[in-house]
């Protein structure tokens, strides 16, 4: 039995050390007793030489207790680390010195301590809150020993930024004494910042060293020392550290809880600008007390292990010459890639703007907007020729440049698809600015999370976007895409309008703005996942990868320059000018793809004599539903379409057949892909028909330049690490292609998982390859069922359930503990159920019998719901994780809630 002093703290770690002080705050010859949590003696007793030392520094008003998870993980690791977590003087269980210790003293104190401990070998500093600053201070003064820095919610208090508002209040003389020392309010407020709330015994442990007002003097002094302006005594030290870390050449890991009222995302952005090499992970939903809210030990030691083995992963800011130095190529057949270079970045590169530049004298239409932004209804389409588009892009680039937009800056575009969006995209690409494209399909909360996560320096948007920006306090300089009155500009904090940018440019268009082409391997765009599987994730593409996406589309679908296409699917829509294709944006509410009508599609097609249509399943559903409204000429225009592409989610064959009747001369294709790789495979309607029924949805064969493999699954539902291309093996789907994303943005943990098979992107989907080399998607890795009879995928069972006449849509989920789950079908019926309920016995028996006959799965239950929860963007991806939780609860007994 391990003796614990406090919950999670082993008694052997607690020690006291007498340290002679050299701090200015103390008289000469002073010695103070420090309290530490230190697993060094324990490791020594076991005869273990640690890999190095983590020097952990808490902030205010916590103590070394904050780092207990690191101590436990470091001690029990295969290759243990020593962890020295200090209680700063006047804090925790260290001595109360009776002095007022300032930042400079505290950095000196830490140095005194490490000298006394005689720390040898590499040191990784770890800091939280103001402890982050102090640990960085130590780092800048001990560069010889420094191996890496790890930071969690901290600030280096950059010039130009004010002290966080809650701290300003705490600093007010009338407040701060009462708030920090006299009462324990500051402690309680800080402890209350945990998400979810701290357990009672943990809260008590945090409070333990600060029981009386006398014990809390350090807490008060700590707050009082925070330098609010250059006149403050600690200002000099602060700026010294803040500037000093720019020259730290060690790896850095920043773990961040965004729900922090003190150290908000802007301090993260400041930090990343000073430590551009940092790997970052933002834990959506976690807050200030990150080490309490999230597991930090696993990523910290995972990251340190990777440093040791030399595999570097990048999830932070743009830095050239990055990533995967030892990534091997996925298959030996590849001649382009070498063992020292990533798969991406080896083909020939043609910039995204090359086509536009070549056509700068072309007066034929480049972009057509069926419902121009800011126009009166019924105004009719607006068209820009290639020459006009090129000129607009140049002027916009120059205008943006004139207000400070430069290469590497993130520019969030909150503008509906159309001419403005297209022009802005290419202007940003031209400048080397990074476009951040988050669509309204994420919902207000999701969109807000996405924007705050990406932290754009500029936001260009329509008025509605600025309403939200004001409400949710989105960062960035605001630029209105439409004309805006002065009062509104003031209200929304809008600094510029696109109109101004277009007009205010003197001299020749383009000359001032852009002199060099952007670096092919610099960041170009950040797109967002749909958020159907948790918070939306930012996905970063470089210029080379965007260009590869363009080339893949071109090669797979034989899109010639001069093709005219209807751009009804967002990510592909932005590629039109790069492809050299005339693109037309149909009249529809872009926040809801299902508002595209057959007539609107036909009008758009007619406007440019389109031969290609890009759409989404939700849009096509409505197109089929509104087909009766088509006029003769409109039907004629659709008859000219030669290629129709629907991306986003699989489409059932019957719907495709109906679409085919509307576009009788078109080849229908439904590529499979994800925000991280668009597209991966392709299949046509004919191929869907010839593939027939199988385990999952047949999504066809890899597109030009792409490779697909799977990794086998463990009985617990986790995925192994070896790529397999053998037919018939169900596993997690892997993709390798030049157009796979560069990385997830500020999600180091997610990124390292997605790349853990060198040279491949883990999709999180499960499926198998068949004898013909076709991929069958069987569902999401997170949605597989781990039954007593092995791992099962849901899609085939869902298709079987949907073949029962009353069943409209079905989701099959696992209920119960991993490895012993039972399958449960949650179904939407026709007519719809009024409320969630178990299916009537006869329907239940019918569904069970059908599913068992097709797949061998024995459904424990069939539950009816009025509507299955789906994502907003595609209106098709069912949130099975939430459903599984709901079903488990419903079947545990008690009342049935809503899914």
């Amino acid at each position: 039995m391990v003796t614990e002093l406090w919950p999670g703290v082993r008694a052997v770690w607690s020690r006291r050390v007498n340290v002679p002080s050299t701090a200015a705050a103390d008289p000469d010859g002073s010695t103070h007793t420090w309290h530490l949590l230190d697993n060094g003696p324990q490791l020594e007793e076991r005869g273990i030489t640690p890999a190095g030392t983590l020097l952990c520094v808490h902030g205010n008003p916590t103590w070394s207790y904050l780092w207990r998870s690191l101590l436990a993980a470091a001690t029990d690791a295969e290759q243990p680390w020593r962890v020295v977590a200090v209680d700063q003087l006047d804090m925790g269980f260290s001595a109360r010195t009776g002095t007022f210790r300032r930042l400079e003293d505290r950095i000196t104190d830490l140095g005194d301590l490490t000298r006394e401990l005689d720390l040898t070998g590499p040191v990784v500093t770890v800091g939280h809150d103001w402890g982050g600053l102090i640990s960085l201070g130590w780092a800048t003064r001990h560069r010889q020993q420094l191996a890496a820095v790890v930071l969690t919610n901290t600030a280096v208090h950059p010039a130009g930024y004010s002290v966080p508002a809650p701290l300003q209040l705490a600093l007010h003389p009338a407040v701060h004494s009462w708030g920090t020392t006299t009462s324990a309010a500051f402690l309680r407020v800080t402890h209350a910042l945990a998400h979810p709330p701290l357990a009672k015994d943990v809260r008590e442990a945090f409070m333990a060293p600060y029981r009386s007002a006398g014990r809390r003097s350090g807490v008060g002094n700590f707050v009082a020392d925070i330098p609010a302006d250059p006149a403050a005594p600690s200002w000099g030290t602060l700026t010294g550290v803040a500037d000093g870390i720019r020259s730290l050449d060690v790896p850095a890991l920043v773990l961040w809880g965004p729900k922090d009222p003190i150290f908000s995302d802007r301090y993260l952005r400041d930090l990343l600008q000073r430590l551009p090499q940092a790997d970052v992970h933002r834990f959506e939903g976690a807050g200030h007390l990150l080490p309490e809210d999230a597991d930090i030990a696993t990523p910290v030691f995972g990251w340190l292990d990777r440093l040791k083995t030399g595999v570097e992963l990048r999830s932070g800011e743009s830095a050239p010459g990055h990533a995967m130095a030892d990534a091997s190529t996925p298959e030996t057949g590849s001649t382009e890639a070498t063992s020292t270079a990533p798969v991406v970045g080896t083909g020939s590169f043609r910039p995204m703007l090359a086509e536009l530049a070549e056509r700068a004298g072309d007066t034929s239409p480049a972009v057509v907007d069926m419902a121009p932004l800011d126009a009166e209804p019924g105004t009719g389409p607006r068209t820009l020729s290639w020459a006009e588009l090129a000129a607009v892009v140049d002027r916009l680039a120059a205008g943006l440049s004139s207000i400070g937009v430069k290469a590497g800056d993130r520019v969030n575009l909150l503008v509906p698809p159309g001419i403005e969006l297209t022009s802005l995209i290419y202007a940003c690409l031209k400048l080397g600015a990074v476009i951040v494209v988050a669509d309204a399909g994420l919902g207000a909360t999701g969109l807000s999370r996405a924007i705050k996560g990406a932290g754009p320096k500029f936001i260009i948007g329509i008025e509605r976007a600025f309403v939200a920006a004001r409400l949710f306090q989105w960062p960035g300089v605001k630029i209105s895409a439409t004309a805006m009155s002065a009062p509104k500009r003031a209200l929304y904090g809008v600094s510029h309008t696109v109109e101004d940018l277009l007009q205010s440019i003197p001299g020749e268009p383009g000359t001032a703005a852009v002199t060099t082409d952007p670096d092919p391997d610099a960041d170009a765009a950040i797109l967002f996942t749909s958020g159907s599987t948790g918070p939306a994730k930012g996905v970063v593409y470089t210029h080379r990868q965007l260009a590869a996406m363009r080339d893949t589309l071109k090669d797979t679908y034989k899109l010639q320059a001069g093709t005219a296409l209807v751009a009804g699917f967002a990510p592909f829509a932005l590629l039109g000018p790069a492809l050299g294709a005339t693109s037309v944006t149909p009249d529809m509410d872009v926040t809801a793809p299902k508002t595209l009508t057959a007539a609107a599609l036909a009008e758009a097609a007619a406007a440019v004599q389109a031969t290609a249509v890009f759409a989404s399943p939700a849009a096509l559903n409505n197109v089929v539903a509104t087909a009766a409204e088509l006029s003769g000429p409109q039907r004629g225009a659709l008859g000219e379409v030669e290629l129709l592409l629907s991306a986003g989610a699989p489409i059932p064959e019957p719907l495709l057949a109906k679409v085919q009747r509307l576009v009788p001369n078109a080849s229908l294709h439904t590529p499979y892909g994800m925000t991280e790789a668009l597209p991966v495979t392709d299949i046509s309607l004919e191929e869907i028909r010839s593939a027939g029924k199988g385990n999952g949805v047949c999504v066809g064969t890899p597109v030009a330049g792409a490779k697909v493999a799977v990794t086998a699954l463990n009985p617990d539902g986790s995925s192994t690490d070896d790529p397999i291309t053998r037919p018939g093996v169900t596993g997690e789907i892997l993709v390798s292609a030049p157009h796979v994303k560069d990385r997830y943005d500020r999600l180091w943990i997610t990124e390292s998982r997605s790349r853990s098979v060198p040279g491949w992107h883990r999709t999180g989907d499960v499926g198998h390859l068949d004898e013909a080399g076709r991929l069958w998607v069987e569902g999401r890795l997170a949605h597989i069922l781990t039954t007593a009879h092995g791992v099962k995928t849901p899609v085939a069972a869902e298709q079987a359930a949907e073949s029962v006449p009353q069943v409209a849509r079905a989701a099959v989920v696992g209920v119960g503990p991993a490895g012993a789950q039972v399958p449960v079908a949650v179904v939407e019926t026709q007519p719809k159920a009024r409320k969630p309920a178990p299916a009537a016995w006869k329907l239940s028996a019918k569904v069970r019998e059908t599913v068992a006959a097709e797949t061998g799965l024995d459904l424990a239950s069939v539950l009816l719901v009025p509507e299955l929860p789906t994502d907003i963007r595609h209106n098709s991806k069912i949130d099975r994780a939430a459903l599984a939780q709901w079903a488990a609860k419903a079947l545990a007994g008690g009342r049935m809630g809503q899914p």
Binding site: A788, G816, P817, G819, P838, W841, S844, D858, G893
Partner: protein, 348 residues
Amino acid sequence: MSTGTAQGRNILVTGASGMLGGAVARLLMEQGHHVRTFQRRPAAFAQDGAQAETVQGSLTDELAVARAVTGVDAVVHLAAKVSFTGEWSDFVATNIEGTRALLKAARAAGVRDFVFVSSPSVAHFGTAIAGAGAGTADPERAHGNYARSKAAAELLALAEDSPAFRVAAVRPHVVWGPGDTQLVERVVARARAGRLPLLDHGTALIDSTYIDNAAAAIARTLERMDHAHGQALVVTNGQPRPVGELLAGICAAAGVRPPAWNVPGWLARGAGSVIERAWTAAGKRGLVRDEPPMTRFLAEQLSTAHWFDQRRTREVLDWSPAVSIEEGLDRLAEHYLGRSAVALNHHP
């Protein structure tokens, strides 16, 4: 491996007058064993012309118990007081002291193997069980006199396990089948009288065991004592179903209307406690003989999930159930209606 037919063993089955005990006795005879039954009332067991030897007596009668175990190689102990109500002292006498006496006598008589037939309720403490393992019996926390006394008896039995005297506990969960008076006939009778409510719409997922599977698992345990001794194994069909659906299936098989009215679980649990106390009091005064319409224990059983991870059981016994729930319901329908329920269950 010996299937038991090649060399018959002498096996004592207690509680053979019950549905499960009878099924076990008949199955063992079918497998070629010499079966002796032990029960309070006179009874005869015959299977394929073979006649079971019977010893009449009570578990509380030391001499009768000694007679029963003389000359046997193995004991399957099913006899127990099974009731939702009753005085604790009665449960102690039969379930705990009776088991203690039988264990003692069996060991003294040189019996090699002892299978104690228990109940998953010995480790069910009123909260939902979803895919859990068997768990350890706990007389302190089990709910109701039956479960508490069985828990104590199971602990007694497993404590006796040794290489010379091998003891295993088998816990079949909600056993049902043709001729079942405990569950099936009560459900059917109440449904027919319109007195069968569903608790919380009957959504609680529960495991159950078709009678033939329960008997087979017990017989199989005797063959697998090398692996099974010292352990408690929950046995089920491994096909959990919402309780409402199981009851509806049973009603349909019996040709009665399935329950349609709903009672909130919390209300039934509360009412169950009251009824249970009143019934026990009335029973003492000779006013009632039947089981009460609702008890707290029953309400818990009908309104909280309890289904189990069967992986260990199946690995230890190297066995899986031969009769599915659906097939079991067909057989039940055949029993009641003299015709197959295929038309009922699986109409196209």
